[in-house]
């Protein structure tokens, strides 16, 4: 084989992209198009598909690039991520059965649908939709930027960032448009498998370079012992940071609008419960990536005498250094899979939120189900274009927002948890709580960053509860019928 290395790896990556796109389209065209089909696959996704689809969606370009990049920069504080890959599933295990049950009983398609029903307020639904859309945007942008990094690096520069991004996200837009959530679930099932394989191939770097895990960590201990413990190499991640970040992600994780919808799309309650119960086993894929990050501490510039373009390139450059283009193509395909599987679900969720809660239950209440479904489809293309534009022309603009994505969505927590447990909570209480919570988050992120090393989201959540409870007690609760209906479900 005398092919240039870029051709081989690029053929594997784009071959995989084509397979995924075809599967996503096929899954969609075989079903009759409707709003509930496009949004939540008619609540018909069964356990095995759901498990891998949710896994692929959760583990994104950040998992493949960011975990290792963080390990290079900060060291052991990255272990808070594998920690929340355990703790967040406890919350999911407890909450998602409610999502599924309430969604099925009362026909919810989006997260704001619950708030509209429980608090008898479309205005609250619009607020939740807007906050959700706002905080999901940077996640989509991150997937697009990640795709560019992965494909450009894995193709040995054979294709540059912009065409790589455009090709990958036009394919994604096509299967999201046609396939809706069923298309995404089926492609993500495949993505979830290749991501897992790619992560374990990548750990080959550690063995090729050091001969094993222990020699790697002994070497790090010798070269940079601060990388092995909190508060990390730069000394900024102490216990308050670790604990508050872990608490935040534990409570905030299942508040993301796209993950609420996955609870709705499960066929049975036990499918989503088991998905949560066993997701930590899938999350083991984060460990090889973290280890490769630690290998990169030593490898760049130490052994290879070669500097990383940026910390986020740690995985792909290490794999390139030690392995042939076939393996690079496989890991590149895994990284691309991680990025587009998350990007597709996020785009589909954004357009669903806008179509359902800003149009059908907002400015145009007469919109039929079919009209809303077509609006959602059209919006999925519009959101893709907007995010591509932002990623290509303003890559820094939304990076700041990413810092506050968890802090933002965790503000839905009181509305959900009090909503299913406490009779006295009211729409005014939840509305005021979300507004105050988001303001406190923005202040403790950008004006006074993380006071006392405690994460901004926790400050916001604290303020949120402090407002929601007294305001609720001072205002009129929803009708007795609604309260009984929700609380007994």
């Amino acid at each position: 084989m005398e092919l240039p290395p870029g051709t081989i790896s690029l053929a594997i990556i784009f071959g995989w992209l084509i397979i995924s796109t075809i599967v996503g389209i096929m899954a969609g065209v075989l079903k009759k198009f409707s709003l509930a089909e496009w949004m939540v696959a008619e609540r018909g996704i069964s356990f095995v598909i759901l498990y891998f689809a949710v896994a692929a969606e959760i583990y994104s370009a950040f998992t493949f690039l960011g975990l290792a990049g963080w390990a290079v920069t900060h060291g052991a504080s990255i272990l808070y991520a594998p920690a929340y890959f355990v703790t967040a599933y406890s919350t999911g295990f407890l909450l998602t059965p409610y999502y599924h049950r309430l969604g099925k009983k009362f026909g919810y398609l989006t997260e704001p649908d619950f708030f509209i029903d429980r608090y008898e307020s479309r205005a609250l639904g619009i607020l939740v939709a807007l906050v959700g859309i706002f905080f999901l945007l940077p996640y989509i942008q991150l997937q697009i930027l990640g795709t560019g990094i992965i494909v450009e690096a894995a193709s040995y520069g054979a294709i540059s960032r912009t065409p790589a991004i455009l090709i990958a996200f036009l394919c994604t837009a096509v299967f999201v448009f046609i396939g809706g959530y069923r298309g995404i679930a089926w492609t993500n099932f495949l993505q979830g498998i290749i991501m897992f394989i790619a992560a374990f191939v990548a750990i080959g770097v550690v063995f090729a370079a050091f001969g094993g895990i222990e020699p790697l960590f002994r070497k790090v201990l010798e070269v940079s012992p601060k990388h092995l413990l909190l508060p990390g190499a730069r000394g900024i991640h102490g216990y308050p940071w670790y604990m508050s970040s872990l608490l935040l992600t534990t409570l905030g994780f299942w508040m993301f609008p796209h993950l609420v919808q996955r609870g709705y799309s499960a066929r049975q309650e036990k499918d989503i419960m088991r998905t949560c119960a066993w997701m930590s086993w899938y999350s083991i894929l984060s460990i090889p990536i973290v280890f490769v990050g630690f290998a990169a501490i030593i490898l760049f510039p130490g052994v290879t005498g070669y500097k990383l373009p940026a910390a986020d390139y740690a995985v792909i450059e290490s794999v390139k250094y030690f392995f042939n283009p076939w393996i690079v193509g496989l890991v590149g395909a895994g990284g691309l899979a991680a990025a587009i599987s998350s990007g597709a679900g996020l785009i589909q969720c954004e357009s669903g939120l806008a179509a359902r809660n800003l149009i059908q239950r907002g400015i145009w209440p007469k919109a039929s189900e079919t009209a809303t479904a077509w609006a959602a489809r059209a919006l999925s293309l519009i959101f893709t274009v907007i995010c591509l534009f932002l990623a290509l022309y303003y890559p820094q603009l939304l990076v700041y927002l990413l810092l506050v994505a968890y802090s933002g969505v965790v503000q839905f927590f009181p509305g959900w948890v009090l909503g299913i447990t406490w009779r006295r909570v009211t729409k005014a209480g939840v509305f005021a709580g979300i507004v105050v919570g988001v303001i406190v988050v923005l202040l403790t992120t950008f004006v006074w960053p993380d006071p006392l090393q405690v994460h901004s989201g926790i400050w916001g959540l604290f303020a949120n509860f402090l407002v929601t409870i007294p305001v609720s007690l001072a205002t009129k609760p929803p009708s007795e019928e609604t309260i009984r209906r929700i609380l007994s479900a």
């Binding site: 052991a76 272990l79 594998p82 920690a83 890959f85 355990v86 703790t87 599933y89 406890s90 919350t91 295990f93 407890l94 094993g212 895990i213 222990e214 960590f217 201990l221 012992p225 092995l228 413990l229 909190l230 216990y239 670790y242 604990m243 872990l246 608490l247 534990t250 036990k270 419960m273 088991r274 949560c276 119960a277 066993w278 997701m279 930590s280 086993w281 999350s283 083991i284 984060s286 460990i287």
Partner: protein
């Protein structure tokens, strides 16, 4: 109905153990020694929880769906 509620509470307690231990445990496990399976202890602790976390949730699942 009352019995079902009771089981739900037990499931909740079992499921809450991993987050509580992981969040509050950090100061006690932030150490290099002892090494386990080639990893400093702080790393081993996190890898181990990825494996045993689901066992707690499986127990909670059984308690919640079949009673216990």
């Amino acid at each position: 109905m009352e019995k079902a509620k009771y089981r739900e509470k037990e499931a909740l307690i079992i499921a809450a153990i991993p987050p509580i231990v992981l969040i509050l445990g950090a100061p006690f496990v932030n150490r290099v020694e002892p090494w386990v399976l080639g990893m400093p202890f702080f790393f081993f602790w996190h890898v181990a929880w990825l494996i045993i976390g689901p066992l707690f949730l499986t127990a909670a699942y059984i308690v919640r769906t079949r009673g216990g």
